[in-house]
Point group: C2
Chain length 200, copies 2
């Protein structure tokens, strides 16, 4: 197998990229400037050395603790718990949250062999106990595993601390059409209905 | 901008990958094994050094001339002319062609400033004259530019050599539904109709 075939094989291992897309990308990189492929190559080679999980919240960062954890302007009494490091970037993009984060590193999924011990729940409990935390917002995905994990984390937090534990609201996505909303989402958005003018 | 943001920027420059896919891929690479990202990085860094255009046909290769041009078992009297190096791999996958290739490096596109002089037409003419070539199959894409280029190449070949110049057949794709075929394809497939039982 030559370098080109090996590159196609490596690229097609990435999520969402099949053999065809991988081939197209490989030929694109080969047809373009050598410097472009090299720059990407150098970035990938040094990636894991440059970026590491923050020892505090677990999000990816170049400095430890991460800029979010070191930011004294943020509200360190509110922790938003997410599944994966990329969720931190997603939450930050909403520009709605001013607190700090805690990355669980996944969700409880017994079928895949992931138990509570495989997540950073212990570290979250220590943070909630030792730091002056008032609220923990659980922002795991609204899936079976995400909900189970949220319940488990909430239970543990309530047993050991007095922090208030909340969960992201479920409901219709902004701009959605009732007609295309699924039954469960509609039911949750009805159950969680708010007073008109309450949420601006 | 940190390494992760730079990586996302570099990935989103690739064709077919937007900011979202690039972010997903970057986080995937960062969440996975460091060795995986490094292996991909090393491949990309050395890509242009390991793989170069064959000095004879222009397809990408580790050895020069390429394995196809050096293969004495192939029919060197038939040259298949394609636009891009990746088209060689596509043609080879069909397992129908036993001859050798010639990569033009694109098509004549005056609007984009690509004239005949920017393609390897001169080299093709030399090959057709000097080597014992009997047939040149033009396999440029059935687009306006591809057709224009095919006509131009054919004209040049006929002026300078006695090789027979052919073009890939146009018609319905295998498995297609007449109902969904576009008018032009249908017209070409009607004009190019073959005797039943002629093409196996």
């Amino acid at each position: 197998m030559n370098s080109l075939e090996r590159l196609i094989q490596e690229i097609s291992r990435l999520p969402g990229l099949g053999k065809k897309s991988a081939t197209r990308l490989a030929y694109h990189l080969l047809s373009g400037d050598a410097v472009d492929a090299q720059r990407l190559g150098i970035l990938l080679q040094g990636l894991h050395e440059a970026i590491r999980p923050c020892s505090r919240c677990g999000s990816f960062t170049e400095d430890d603790p991460c800029p979010l954890c070191s930011d004294r302007g943020r509200d360190h009494t509110t922790i938003c718990v997410v599944e994966h490091p990329q969720d931190v970037a997603v939450m930050e993009a909403s520009r709605e949250f001013q607190g700090v984060y805690h990355v669980l590193g996944g969700v409880i999924a017994p079928i895949e062999g992931v138990g509570p011990g495989d997540l950073t729940i212990g570290a979250l409990l220590r943070r909630a106990r030792d730091e002056k935390v008032r609220e923990v917002i659980i922002a795991t995905n609204p899936t079976v595993e995400g909900d189970t994990t949220a319940l488990y984390v909430a239970q543990q937090l309530r047993e050991l601390t007095k922090v208030s534990v909340t969960r992201l609201a479920l409901g219709l996505p902004v701009g959605a059409d009732l007609e295309y909303a699924d039954r469960l989402t509609l039911a949750r958005s009805l159950r969680g209905r708010t007073l008109l003018g309450e949420d601006t």
